[in-house]
């Protein structure tokens, strides 16, 4: 163990996206010695891909907006399966978190009064998203990154965590390797904050980058923490479908928020055929009313295109399935015929460039071709809402890797605010916990470190096995085809069987070359996590026998409020990646909050 590079901290944050950096800042400000570990370079985290904005009920454009309305929108968007307390904290604290970013140098678009401008998004009653054109995530990550650097927080870039180390029931440290050199590095720390983001890289058509291999989900499971809501995977309705190399790449919801509409090959605005009863009261029933809403939100209801993402994704999926799709297997998203070229370029500059550069499509002149793409996992580590602590002492989770906040479906814009609100809470509480430890700090066992090192080096020991790339491709294909938007029991059983096979292959795969910056080796280690998380999703999805939010069962198409509306599916695993699921009662909101949910529009 003496051979390894070693560091000691009070708080170690895994992940340098929005929640990780916000957590690190909070922990540092609370006086903790803090480190951030990230797989990529600092500032490249997936948060930069977020386009639309940060949902916060600041009421800059609509004074009627407040946290109660935001809370209600969030809960209803999640089909009431959210942890009420997380939704409450989120709605209450989001505005403060946004204003704080401004104090650190962020420059949001402004209203004529000089306040932060807010934009419309699906499922939000009022224009609520603080934004910078369509590159809000970049603004957020850069602001947090610059803050982190100016505070002098240590950041370990291009460093991958493969194991959490424990002392009995407590977190004692993390084991990682430098991607650059392949050398191992051990962090002694009583607290770890998981901020590793999502799991989308297990699907073929995805808006997620290579980093989204579910590391945090897998680390938590192996450390003894529980996952909640893993069956709920959000397929964003609008991803690019052509050319093939960019299939799945996100097309921001702002296109619809700013006036874009969905049409099928017959030119019909088909979303008006798919308004569910649950949202009838707040959705316009004619195109004319929907169009008026953009300028007069008081007297009109919102267009059907701005229903929550799960509804829109299912509708698109159905249109394509029934043969009314576009030439490359999507539907049309049209803003060209509805807004001026100047408006489009001003409001959606990155979309304009994305289509121009990658698809040679001028979105100010022609419609885009889009289709659903795997985007976000609602499920994640089960945490205490106030402290972001998991059931494992010293282990915290914030952001996409944490579960509960979004229920069965996340509203657009609620992700960035989630990162800030719960990132800060995780950082604060981890720092507080660490400072209360005094001398009784957990110790790392040398044997655990040696075991972690041996496991990481295993792929080099073998020769002639399959390579990681082909196993990864098989996994993506299975999850795409069998655990996608629409699910059936036999298909998911088949998926589980295949995952099992792939796991066996992974145990025998081999990598070429040496340890220095070797992507083949990196992927081999990530695969283990992807397989564990994919199995978790499939098992949770098998368990929930209803359709709700980001989980649609062909064999159980109805939403079952009496039984499943009151239950969460919890996933557990042991250190050998054996997955178990169980049901657990959903926390019930107190009467005053429950009343908010009852109120009709």
């Amino acid at each position: 163990m003496a051979d390894y590079e070693k560091h000691a901290y009070d708080v170690v944050v895994i992940g340098a996206g929005g929640s990780g950096l916000r957590a690190a800042i909070a922990a540092h400000e609370a006086g903790a010695r803090t480190a951030v570990i990230c797989k990529s370079l600092l500032g490249k985290a997936h948060t930069v891909m977020a386009e639309g904005g940060i949902a916060a009920a600041m009421g800059n454009l609509y004074p009627d907006d407040n946290w109660q309305v935001h809370f209600r929108d969030t809960m209803r968007g999640g089909k009431l399966l959210n942890h009420w307390r997380m939704a409450e904290l989120h709605a209450k604290e989001a505005p403060e978190r946004v204003w704080e970013l401004e104090q650190w140098g962020a420059l949001f678009d402004r209203t004529p009064d000089g306040l932060i401008s807010q934009r419309d998004f699906g499922g939000h009653r009022y224009a609520r998203l603080a934004h910078v054109g369509d590159r809000t995530g970049l603004e957020m990550i850069r602001t947090l990154q610059q803050r982190t650097v100016s505070l002098g927080i240590d950041v370990y870039m291009e460093c991958t965590v493969t194991d959490l180390l424990k002392d009995g029931d407590r977190v004692a440290g993390v084991f990682a390797y430098w991607r650059e050199s392949g050398r191992f590095i051990v962090f002694e720390t009583p607290t770890v904050i998981l901020a590793t983001g999502g799991i989308g890289k297990s699907w073929k058509v995805t808006s997620n980058s290579w980093e989204y291999t579910g590391d945090g989900h897998a680390l938590a499971l192996r450390a003894g923490a529980t996952l909640v809501n893993m069956e709920f995977v959000q397929f964003h309705p609008t991803g690019m479908v052509w050319p093939p190399s960019v299939r799945g790449l996100l097309v921001t919801e702002s296109v619809r928020g700013d006036g874009g509409v969905l049409r099928n090959s017959q030119g019909r605005r088909f979303m008006y055929d798919y308004i569910p009863d649950f949202f009838k009261a707040e959705t316009s029933d004619s195109e004319a009313e929907g169009d008026r809403w953009y300028t007069d939100k008081v007297n009109n209801r919102r267009p059907a295109e701005l229903l929550p993402r799960d509804e829109v994704a299912r509708a698109i999926n159905n249109e394509i399935k029934e043969g009314r799709g576009s030439p490359h297997g999507g539907v049309f998203l049209d803003i060209a015929s509805r807004r001026s070229p100047e408006y489009i370029k001003k409001r959606l500059p990155s979309m304009y460039h994305q289509f121009m550069e990658l698809a040679e499509v001028d979105i100010t002149k022609e419609p885009m071709e889009i289709g659903p793409t795997c985007h976000y996992v609602m499920g994640g580590v089960e945490v205490d809402p106030d402290s972001a602590a998991s059931i494992v002492t010293g282990l915290y989770a914030a952001g996409e890797v944490a579960g509960g906040m979004h229920g069965s479906n996340r509203l657009g814009g609620n992700s960035l605010s989630d990162l800030l609100v719960f990132g800060r809470r995780a950082g604060m509480h981890a720092a507080e916990f660490a400072s209360g430890l005094s001398s009784a700090r957990p110790q790392i066992a040398a044997a655990d470190v040696e075991a972690a090192a041996a496991a990481a080096l295993e792929p080099f020991e073998r020769e002639g096995g399959e390579n990681a790339y082909s196993i990864h491709q098989s996994l993506q294909q299975v999850m795409q085809d069998l655990v996608g938007i629409i699910r059936r029991e036999p298909e998911m059983q088949e998926a589980l069987a295949t995952i099992n096979d792939l796991r066996a292959k992974t145990a025998h795969l081999s990598v070429e070359g040496h340890r220095q910056y070797n992507p083949g080796w990196h992927l081999a280690l990530d695969l283990r996590n992807m397989l564990l998380v994919s199995e978790s999703v499939a098992r949770a999805a098998l368990e929930r026998k209803e359709s709700r939010g980001g989980h649609t069962r062909d064999d159980y198409p109805m939403t079952d409020n009496d039984y499943w509306g009151k239950r969460n599916v919890i996933v557990e695993a042991d250190r050998d990646d054996h997955v178990r699921v169980r049901q657990q009662p959903l926390p019930v909101p107190p009467p005053e909050l429950a009343a908010l949910l009852e109120e009709q529009h």
């Binding site: 490249k44 997936h46 420059l107 004529p112 650059e180 190399s245 790449l249 390579n467 910056y517």
Partner: protein
């Protein structure tokens, strides 16, 4: 529409390396990064390359394609002459780690030296009131995705390793410009940027602007305005005599 593409990729590390030929099948609409991924998956699993979003938003996959610094994810294969091999090399200005991956820590060191945004005394309280026209100039610079292509292409350090200490580079200069033009920032970094960050070393030959994938007008909108601001405090005898140069303009 699949066809075989010939690639020449620099393989090696700090101790040396060479251009290695590959031939991989590629599809219509693909970009250089796709081709590199095909090499990884089919021919050489340990080919080192940095990438993340594959959409021109994160600035990770910077390299030199046929000698031109650019993002591999935005380099469409259809824009290259058919039949000719495409040469891919790592960024020249930074130390190589392995294959197409370079050590870009230079840029992080320079970023850490920037005095952070400091709210001015006029408006320290949140929420800020700022007009759109006042934030727009700085917003242009905040589009930067930190691909470091400007840093890589700038001859001041590309051709003169010994200037790295004294020169912060275009990426840094747009950060200084952003803060100088921020309506609510209260610090004055004009002398600092000239005297300690090497603004004067820039001879405005505009290569940074040419390679910027975000089309930020680095030279015209950031570096030259910064040079002019430096003239305000350092090279303008009229202002110097009247001492007005020391106070910030309204």
């Amino acid at each position: 529409m699949a066809y075989d593409l010939k690639l020449r990729i620099w393989r090696g590390d700090a101790s040396g390396g060479e251009l290695v030929d590959y031939s991989v099948p590629v599809d219509e609409g693909e970009v250089v990064l796709d081709a590199v991924h095909h090499v990884q998956a089919m021919a050489s699993g340990d080919l080192a390359v940095r990438w993340n979003c594959k959409a021109g938003k994160c600035g990770s996959c910077s390299a030199e394609v046929n000698g031109r610094p650019r993002l591999m994810c935005l380099a469409r294969l259809s824009t290259f002459p058919p039949g000719e091999p495409i040469t891919i090399t790592p960024l020249r200005t930074f130390p190589v780690i392995r294959d197409l991956v370079t050590d870009v820590s230079f840029n992080y060191v320079k970023a850490a030296q920037v005095p952070a945004f400091t709210p001015s005394k006029d408006q320290p309280q949140a929420p800020f009131r700022m007009q759109q026209v006042d934030v727009e100039r700085s917003q242009e610079f905040r589009k930067c995705i930190e691909c470091f292509l400007c840093q890589n292409t700038c001859h001041v350090i590309r051709d003169h390793e010994d200037n790295k200490e004294a020169f912060a580079g275009p990426r840094s200069f747009i950060r200084y410009a952003e803060l100088e033009m921020h309506p609510n920032d209260g610090l004055d970094r004009r002398r600092l940027v000239q005297e300690e960050r090497g603004l004067g070393m820039c001879n405005i030959t505009k290569c940074c602007t040419e390679v910027c994938p975000e089309s930020i007008k680095i030279t015209d909108n950031a570096i030259i305005p910064m040079k002019e601001r430096v003239v305000d405090v350092k090279y303008d005898p009229v202002r110097f005599l009247s001492r007005r140069g020391r106070t910030k303009p309204g």
